[in-house]
Symmetry: D2
Subunit: 315 residues, 4 copies
């Protein structure tokens, strides 16, 4: 893929003009799930909530919420991706043994944050403090996170809802920087006749993903998304995860007065709420499948920060 | 992780003594799902089959069937794995912007076939012919498969069953080379009171995975598993996928008269049936959770051969 | 860099029309340096030849013959390159210890054959037979070559000469497909008043490298270079290595009747002669530095096929 | 290779007890070679100095000063290395075109700081300030250094000397933590009858490299090497580079009162002097080749921090 040469500076221009906010690490980071908790809102998943999610399945239709990741996938910052295929032990052609067995192996070389992904609780911090008061100097190592790694996350099975924000705004795609706050979110839930419930996965449909492969530079330079108030509102609803068909889920350029990826900070370190990026919400919206059973399991890379994902929606 | 220095030759000794078998590429490879099919047994998944799987959920308990992948994971052949964590744009400490945002990024450098994985239909061939008569020279490129790539696979949602072979054999772990053929498989289904149905995911529990971290060399040098007749039997049942808590699912050393990974050939290229390796079957067996809803979605790496997975079992 | 989607097929069109040539592996591959030899023409280097090369130094001026390798470097086939910088153990800012030590580490993820490179004797074969009758099935493994690896190559110190072919052809750059055969090579040596001597490194200046960053697609799709007869002529002169300011040193499209990279085959497997690609010959030619001391040492990656290089010319 | 699980903490224990030293970024970092300089002591190389080095060659004997880098190479911290060999476009066996051309390609996935290496001027900093007052926040990006990258370094051709410290200490290998300061260095130069001259490459022979493959854990946990006073002494001699047959060139455990890799700080950021690690000094010492022509060119990876090297000594 083409290397992203958009520096972080582009996103910081407005934010840097604001006065630095003092943080008392002790005041905001203590998790309601206890001092040793590493999974945040995944604690909301119970056998009862899973049963309830399962009961949402009425037709058996499934939706792949993940899109493709390859070397052309537009991604944030310096991220790159390469796939290599080789055939170990088979040079010279032919197959192995009497039944002439051939095999291909594959190799990844690249940034995990490329394409459809989940942000684990080790992804975002506030002044060097991450979820549940974990200081980065204590748990981040160059070969993996010692705490908050994605391998800690249990199966994410929940009720999922998709909110069609293109219907609310009348635009498709919704322009970059458009923020979804409490007013807009409530408008969508009302229009669709769905509630946001505790433990839900809430996905926002913006149409932004349709720019991929057509206007990659525009795609990765901004996006519509959740605003600061919207993030606080979703947190008040105790959701499990917030996702969108955008690369970063929050409004970029950031709203006036909002810090750099501050919505990420509100969701992840401050509330242990997961973020799902580049979700393929279009087919759900096309079917008016407003609520569904959401199931996500991803490769448990020890010490990983994010994961490339393909959640399944079933209804 | 320690590099595997076990050459493929170790597995070929017996096999090489056998006469080469002539293959008529046309006779075996035509898929019953049509000349353009790329997904094999995934065609068995229908809304009805998904509904039926969903109805198996009675308690809401979930099981992560994937284990961890890291640099110490024992893996076949030359495979290696490394994870790198970095903090782009944040050298010099502190966070970005007024709310002092920190972030970690992660990078994979390694073979996909490390740990819990699915073998896609582009993984195994017979004399240079892969599933549905695709010749490797036509579809395999060094930067990705042009056909049969894992991105083609739809959400894998099905009824899953686990067969406790340790109870059948009386051994835990079952010794390497022990083959499960029709007799053993039927014994297990009978003992547990479960049937193998069309479209099922069938997992074999052998106890082999318990060797990881204790006897890695032994672990990766052999395994109990499905035998040739067993593979044909499972195929006759039209299963979606066959998995086990072993690295390769089939009996190694191979049975007498059986070719190199011939069970892989019977399942994957000959019948478009998926293979799931290093499945964490222990907890299912401990709960006597013989049947369950099986849900698997994995990152859609364009042109990929395998994927690192963590399927979810729900019952 | 942008993935090269130029398939090998583009280069094979003319070649494929030719009848396959039968090869008797025994007849061509036996090395004059003995059955165990793994270094080919590097055997030509002796203390005497090194002394002679050293005596060519009259001014002390040095030239870096290597150019830069990065993600934008145009390269053959599916090759890609990525560099990652991280700061292990230093998250949270500041330095380590009382003197506040900071450090950056770097990581390569990419194909070696990107940019200025040397082709080792394990790079090219003829019908599965490589230099000195080594069959690929015997020495090629997925994690390194067991023979002919670049770590075997001794320091390459020799007399070097550069032949300005732009002066001979009157074109700069010389058009793709232009072949340098005996006539052209002799014309250049005569014009410049230099001889090709045994053990020399012979570099061809074509001006082709100037296309990089301007016409990358054209650059990588063809090139002027050594023709088949030219290769045989150079071999008859017992040179150590042949290089050029092109990506592949030989004329592409291949000459009529010449096989796919047949010049590579004549030089490398058939005569153990090294190839140096993307050599920065321009400054030597600008200074009319026709002969010089050539010194090349590269990282000894065990089992490597090629190496990224920056040879030094001194005169 | 086996992952290094030696945390940086092991090296910091003594150092952390010391009071932090205040640094005035302005006072120490201004380079004598001017505000825009990026190559430090490489400025000492002139045509005259190169001529003088060349004249040291009396016999034409060459020495490869680099050792092998592979997955088993013991390396500092989280560093890992993997090599992958593939054969793009050649699945199904046989060669390409009428002359049946085969080729192997290779791929690196790993940390550059593995094995014989040079530390560029972007490798080490003091309280976020690097060579010539470059602040890391200004020039370090995740995909390459914007200044001080190794591609800036000109050919390193100089007089080289090797000091046999095993003869001075009477031990081989010299025990870890043994520091070479002015007294020891002068003893060696006197014993050998060589002077340290301006622009020299000074290599220390300790015997430590002989532990590789035998006592890897001990090898990478400490080393004999240059002490703080020794570093200042070498700087006063205006050397080009300091190297050794050790992984880090300086005494580890650090001397009492010396900071974490403070010798690296004195050499690299404070004086723009290069460091060469894991140099194969044994053969030079065996031949009593005290002085020699030193030639080093390495692949110019744009924005690189270090490079894997194989310098050539000629005498």
């Amino acid at each position: 893929m083409m290397q992203r040469d958009i520096t972080l500076a582009l996103f910081f221009a407005a934010a840097l003009a604001l006065p630095a906010q003092a943080q008392d690490p002790q005041s905001w980071c203590k998790s309601k799930w206890g001092a040793n908790d590493e999974i945040g809102a995944a604690n909301l998943i119970t056998p009862e909530s899973v049963m309830a999610a399962t009961k949402l399945v009425k037709t058996g239709k499934t939706y792949a919420l993940g899109g493709e990741t390859n070397s052309k996938t537009p991604a944030f910052g310096p991220r790159s991706w390469a796939l290599v295929i080789n055939q170990p032990g088979q040079v010279g052609g032919g197959g192995l043994g009497p039944t002439k067995t051939n095999y291909n192996d594959d190799i990844y070389m690249g940034y995990v944050g490329t394409g459809s992904q989940i942000d684990g609780l080790g992804h975002i911090g506030v002044d060097n403090v991450y979820y549940n008061c974990n200081k980065n100097a204590d748990f981040v190592q160059a070969n993996g996170l010692k705490k908050l790694g994605i391998e800690k996350i249990p199966p994410l099975v929940a009720r999922g809802i998709v909110l069609d924000m293109t219907a609310i705004t009348g635009k498709n795609p919704i322009p970059e920087g458009t923020a979804f706050n409490k007013k807009e979110i409530e408008e969508a839930t009302k229009r669709q006749g769905v509630e946001i419930k505790k433990g839900d996965v809430v996905l926002f449909h913006t149409g932004w993903l349709s720019l991929v492969g057509k206007e990659d530079k525009r795609y990765i330079s901004g996006e519509p998304g959740v605003g600061k108030e919207g993030a606080e509102y979703l947190v008040s609803k105790e959701v499990l995860a917030v996702g969108a068909d955008t690369w970063g889920v929050e409004a970029v350029p950031f709203e006036k007065g909002v810090g750099v990826f501050e919505v990420h900070q509100i969701l992840i370190p401050k509330n242990g709420t997961y973020i799902l990026e580049n979700m393929n919400t279009g087919p759900l919206v096309a079917d008016r499948a407003w609520e569904f059973m959401f199931v996500l399991g991803f490769g448990k890379i020890t010490g990983g920060v994010q994961a490339i994902i393909n959640p399944i929606a079933i209804r």
